[in-house]
């Protein structure tokens, strides 16, 4: 096979489109690069879902943890402690085993001629179950970051908001929330990178890769097993991940610029990258 044919056959293999059989012998460099890149789709998917949904949940958690009432504060504190205090690896296992034991129920309904369905069996699939775990995990970590930022909002800003007569939702939306984001953004960028790296854990814990549709590391591990040569596939994964990390840094840097645009140049906060590992 030429490299072009390989690309056609395997570029979307991780989604189940294209050649069914993975290359078994005569594995070329092109095979490895294409297939591992194909797996990267899943890593991007998990990271994007977890960051988008987790962001909303994290804001809610941070606000809940910052309230005075016990009834909202305690659950938020426990949630954050539970997900930050235990290994993500164990969380995946536990989530998968729980989802497997759920009764298989589903609902189906027809809306304007299109059939919709939802069933609990989807929870045992990585695309939903693992994404759910990642959402809650990142929500706990970023919730803690946002909570810290919430507490360090300058008092002057809040007093100014009060002086202008802003209350309730308006005060939160116009003053508290933007300032919280601005203060938390450098730390949140690191959390995003960290989460992106953590997506590699999905297929190495409870969730099985159905029909060999896995993520980048899954295929890299496959090649390392088949060729007994770790020196090719793993550096490829590493290269892809460094590329992805740079992408995240670029996007988050733009947002950071926007959040800081009203400040004089020297008071803008730069993102100091602090890479972290396993959660």
């Amino acid at each position: 096979m030429t490299c072009g044919e390989t690309f056609q056959a395997y570029a979307l293999r991780s989604l189940g489109i294209g050649e069914r059989l993975l290359p078994k012998s005569d594995i070329t460099l092109c095979d490895q690069i294409v297939l591992i890149g194909s797996g990267l789709i899943w890593n991007f998917y998990f990271a994007a879902i977890a960051l988008l949904v987790g962001f909303i949940l994290a804001t809610a958690l941070a606000v809940a943890k910052g309230t005075k009432s016990r009834w909202t504060r305690k659950p938020a504190e426990w949630f954050i402690f539970l997900f930050r205090g235990s290994p993500l690896f164990i969380q995946f296992f536990l989530a998968y085993l729980t989802f497997v034991q759920l009764p298989k129920v589903g609902v189906e309904f027809t809306l304007m001629g299109v059939e919709f369905g939802a069933g609990t069996h989807w929870l045992t699939r990585a695309w939903l179950g693992a994404a759910l775990v990642l959402v809650m995990n990142t929500a706990a970590y970023s919730g803690e970051i946002f909570y810290g930022a919430l507490r360090s909002i300058p008092r002057g800003d809040l007093e100014a908001a009060d002086a202008y007569g802003l209350t309730g939702w308006h005060r939160f939306r116009r003053v508290v929330w933007p300032t919280m984001l601005r203060l938390a953004w450098p730390a949140y960028t690191n959390e995003a990178i960290f989460l992106f790296h953590a997506t590699t854990l999905v297929y190495f814990s409870g969730f099985p890769a159905r029909k060999q549709m896995g993520d980048a590391l899954y295929y890299a591990n496959y090649f390392a097993d088949k060729t007994f040569n770790p020196f090719v596939p793993y550096p490829i994964v590493a290269g892809y991940f460094i590329f992805g990390t740079l992408l995240i840094i670029a996007v988050f840097g733009l947002i950071n610029k926007r959040l800081n645009r009203h400040l004089p140049q020297e008071r803008r906060r730069k993102i100091a990258l602090r890479f972290n590992l396993i959660r």
Binding site: S25, I27, F81, L82, G85, S86, P87, L88, F89, I90, Q91, F93, L94, L97, T98, Q101, H197, A198, T200, L201, F204, L217, A220, N221, A224, K226, T227, F228, N229, P230, F231, Y234, V237, A238, F241, I242, T245, R274, F275, N276, L277, I278, R279
Partner: protein, 279 residues
Amino acid sequence: MAWFSCYLTSGKHMLFYQSFVTVLMLLAITAPVSLAFGFGGAVASRSHFLPLAWFGKLYTSIVRGVPDIVFFLFFVIALDQGIEWMRHQALCPDWSEPIRQGNDFLVCPQAKAPLSTSPQWVHEVYNFSLAVFTFAIVFGAFAANVLYGAMNAVPKAQLETAHAYGMSNRQTFWRILVPQMWVYALPGLGNLWMILIKATPLLFLLGVRDIVYWAKELGGTKSDVYAYPHGDWRIYYFLFLLVFYLAFTRVSEIVIERMTRKLSHGQATAGGEAMRREA
């Protein structure tokens, strides 16, 4: 009740309890070793001899930019093959066939590490030490980063005063810099310790029979051959592991908080200042 007391003290369960000791041992060995690696890396990064400084910086930035788990999977095979290759060169110089035959990695039988004739415990110890070494390399890079920052955080005036008193570079380093850097390094190192605890389930991926392995084995449904048949109990085993990790991180948090208080005593930092005010 009697059934449970029998069940929980079966031979397999004893191995399960022992694996907790394995995990604790891993932590106890890895922490000082990676601290030493980190110290070496930080000193190398600070060195005035350029190649050494480059080496130190390269070490920290490469390991930190790539997902942890890629490193874990890569290093263990790479180390294993490296050791076997070196033994092969030394032990059988007149071996004519190439080592990499297509998809295989073949060394002469005498060079196998450990020897295929050696008893089971040698294999286990060998696997375990590979794992420890890999953990130490990865966490060493992170510790190097923390210690490098801490060394730079020690007030310059302190070092200049030491020079003014006529201390040599070496004396300044050991008598002034090293004793003072710990208070700056402690938050970072504490964080790293938490991450290290949460990284221990990855031992499972490295082929060590750790708590995750046993939880999976013992919880799984057993055939009639096994003395204690039961349903799928993996969920309870993993729940137990979750509680174990939560308790462990909580205790560590408390200990680190105490240590911070102790180290801040009499230091020219915000924490030290607050303690002085209290007193």
